[in-house]
């Protein structure tokens, strides 16, 4: 464990108007793998560059172990970074690329060689040491970029969407290897990615950045299960949003009315404000039953009809018309079973505890969800 703690306090940054980052504050614990996720253009890479020192924040401070590093030159921060395109110098061999940083540190030639050999060995790329980057596969290039970032024994490792150039299978393998390596070295790491799956798989905690502000920070399961805003919910894969009106019936019972789905009632401990609201539910939290099925009292039931079906292998994705709304539903595929035909009237059931309710007119930055 390298015991390096990172804090960002009220960071703002702009290239002009509008601002790219606004009031970003976060704290990353020593040895933690912290992911920053968000849609394209949300400002997550800029945040990483500000932390690296590649950009100067307009306001706010970056502290490493409590020390303000805003004025420390880039070359003295001792930060390793893997760029999205890997940025391996094409005229140097793998060995030269990796050794570039350490050879600058007044180290003896043998020490440099030993350090480089060790990191190449750890990353299992020692056989490519004399190859040029152009002759390496994408996976090998990523390992070389990682080796180059780690060989100087940095205090902090920054990864700028390092899996985006990899094919799916290699991507899965690489993130697994990266997680193991990060745990082994205990190095505090920040991963920026637009791919939620990457972040959920390997991060200890993650922050969702939208329009230059952090909307939610939490561990992967908390963030996935309890998004605090419509924007975060959309980003973590919630597809179904049903507009309606919320009313309190009793102390812990709410009533949600939508012209499309009718009246739904279920108990809720937290009391969301009454008025226009948005009910959200994930496609796989809905399940399809024949229209005349027994309606289990533990679930809420909505009537609809199948509009389209797409066979995706593990699951079948249906679009089900509910009044004027269309809901996306994912059902597991079972051996030999055919997809429900288009036009079939069906019942959609869902466990109310898996539905979330957001204020309907929620503006950017407001965050509250109810379950």
């Amino acid at each position: 464990m390298n015991n390096v703690r990172i804090e960002a306090d009220n960071i703002a940054f702009s290239y002009g108007e509008p601002r790219v980052l606004r009031n970003i504050s976060l704290s990353i614990e020593a040895g933690e793998l912290f992911a920053v996720v968000g849609p394209s253009g949300s400002g997550k890479t800029t945040l990483l560059r500000v932390i690296a020192g590649l950009e100067q924040p307009s306001t706010g401070t970056i502290r490493i172990n409590g020390t303000n590093v805003n004025d420390i030159p880039l070359t003295q921060r001792n930060i390793g970074m893997v760029f999205q395109n890997f940025s391996l110098w094409p005229h140097m061999t793998v060995f030269e690329n990796v050794a570039f940083g350490v050879s600058e540190h007044d180290l003896h030639g043998e020490t440099v060689k030993a350090r480089v050999d060790r990191i190449l060995d750890i990353l299992d790329i020692d056989e490519t040491r004399d190859a040029r980057p152009a002759h390496l596969s994408a996976g090998q290039q990523q390992r070389v970029a990682l080796a180059r970032a780690l060989v100087t024994e940095p205090r902090l490792l920054l990864l700028d969407d390092p899996f985006s150039n990899l094919e799916y299978e290699l991507r899965v393998q690489m993130r697994h290897d990266l997680r193991l390596l990060q745990r082994k070295l205990g190095i505090t790491t920040i991963l920026v990615t637009h791919d939620l799956e990457d972040a959920l798989c390997i991060a200890d905690r993650l922050a969702v950045v939208v329009h230059g502000t952090i909307r939610q920070i939490g561990n992967p399961t908390a963030l996935y299960d309890f998004p605090n805003s419509i924007e975060v919910a959309r980003f973590v894969g919630v597809e179904n949003f049903i507009p309606g009106t919320l009313r309190h019936i009793e102390s812990q019972l709410i009533e949600f009315f939508s012209p499309d789905i009718g009246m739904l009632r279920w108990p809720m401990r937290d009391r969301p404000p009454e008025g226009p609201a948005m009910l959200s539910i994930r496609p796989h939290a809905l399940h399809i039953c024949p229209i005349d099925s027994f309606r289990d009292g533990r679930y809420s039931w909505i009537e609809g009809s199948i509009v389209t079906s797409e066979f995706l292998g593990e699951v079948v994705r249906y679009q089900v018309a509910i009044g004027n709304t269309c809901l996306s539903v994912k059902q597991p595929h079972f051996l030999g079973s055919a997809a429900t035909p288009t036009g079939t009237p069906v019942l959609l059931g869902f466990d109310p505890s898996r539905a979330r309710i957001f204020p309907a007119l929620q503006e950017s930055g407001a965050s509250a969800s109810y379950d």
Partner: protein, 569 residues
Amino acid sequence: MKPRGQGFTGKSRLMLALLAVYLLVFFVAPVGKMFFSGVTNEEGELASGALAIFLDNPLYIESLLNSVAVALGASVLAALAALPVAITLWRFRLQPPLIVELFGFLPLFVPPFMLSLSLQSLLGRGGALGMLTQPFGDLDPSLWGLSGMMVVEAIHYFPLVLMTLVLSTTAFSRQAEEAARLGNSWPRLITRVFLPLGLPGLAFGMAITFLKCLDDLATPLSLGITNLLAPQAYFRVSTYGAQDPLSSLMAVAMIAISVLVWLFSAGFLQHGVSHWAAAPTGRTDVLTGHRRRIGMFCFAGIAAFYLLCYSGMILTSAARIWSHTLLPESWVLSHYSSALKNETGSFINTLIYCGFAAVIDVLIGLVMAYAIERSPARWKKPLTWGAASLLSVPGVALAIAYLQFFQGMQLPILGKPLDATWFLLPMAFSIRGLPFAIRACSFALQNLPASYVEAANLSGASRLSIVLRVILPMMAFGLLMAFLICFGIAAVDLSSAMLLVPSETDAPVSYSIYLHMQTSTGRGTGSALAILTIGVVALAMTALVLLIRRNWNPASSLRRIMLPGNPTK
């Protein structure tokens, strides 16, 4: 996300200030002064005296019209010759190999008067072909007047027009063939696909041909033609001195015509530049069967034609006596030894002037490319096209502007008049090569994405180490291209050289060749010198091909640099 690091730091601002000073002193101020001296009297008041003299003299009006007619005629002739060849290459999906593509740009690196002199040797009454064709009439271009010059210039610039035409259409030749197989007729594909696609390339090739012809001083003089603007301006300066308002007016007229032509062609260019970037390098499609035979026939036919055209010069360079016989009566190599022995000075002069100009171009081009790269998006396009428009400044006009502006100025330390030294020559060369230098330097900068330098910075390396081990090696290829192109363009800029060279001992090779060829006894040495020069250019081109092939990013580098507006990414 916006591009990284927009805006300029203190050092960048200093570089931009130096750039502004260079452009002001060596371009804006001389050209501005020349413009005003053409339209004002000695008291500095607006006057139409020079204009009235110009309009009253039929020779000057004739020269103006002739200049436009010859330049237009040459570009139309070159286009008419290039179109069928380009259509054939497109029809049979014949992509020129990299070496052919490079040699297509050779007209920019070899002065056209060499072709003129070679054709005179070959087709003249005493020449090899001239003797054979005598019964059918005189083919000597010096006897045809303006038509002769049109033909010579058209032959000289034909490869350039062909290459720009091919490059703007070749990317879609495969789709055209597939469309033809699906039932579309070739005439329809040519009119609906080839011509619209080829128009930007054709416009660029024709514009360059026009501008070069308008500016050409040595070719008309070698053909004995003087009723053109460039020779008239040259004679006025030689006779009445640099401050002659009429020569200023002629230079201004040349600039005005050039700018108009450039603007006209830029209108076409802007709509088709992306096709050049998309064009393949020509090494992906292996030619087989009849396509291979047609390709060989086309390329070999063109090569043989040019060999024949230059054979007059080749034979003269090795002939002791050659008159009224098919081939020289006896052969010698003494012209070559004489050229190498006596013209060492002109070679050294060329190295100094062109090397100096190319170094300035690379430095200035780098700053300008950097400024364009860092400028706000809305400025990028006007700046790119503005820089490219420097192509439209004729060498004769620039030389006259320099002579006027710097006359009487003393060179610091040496205490000599500036116009009595060779200093102005490389400066004029550098302005002329700048559009190409900016393109090449943009290419060099784009070979070095910001993240590569950032990665080096994060590794803790010193600035010197980053410059020496990362920045320079990654930009080396683009910078070398910039240097070679600017050197080559400067080496053939005879129009500026003829006006700015202070004495014959200070002459560069191209001017020495011209001087030798003007004397009956010097033709052998002049021809040998020309062959040696063309040989050096050909060697440099071949080296460039090898360099491009060895480069880690071989994608059609030269075309990305040579063709304006074409994204270098």
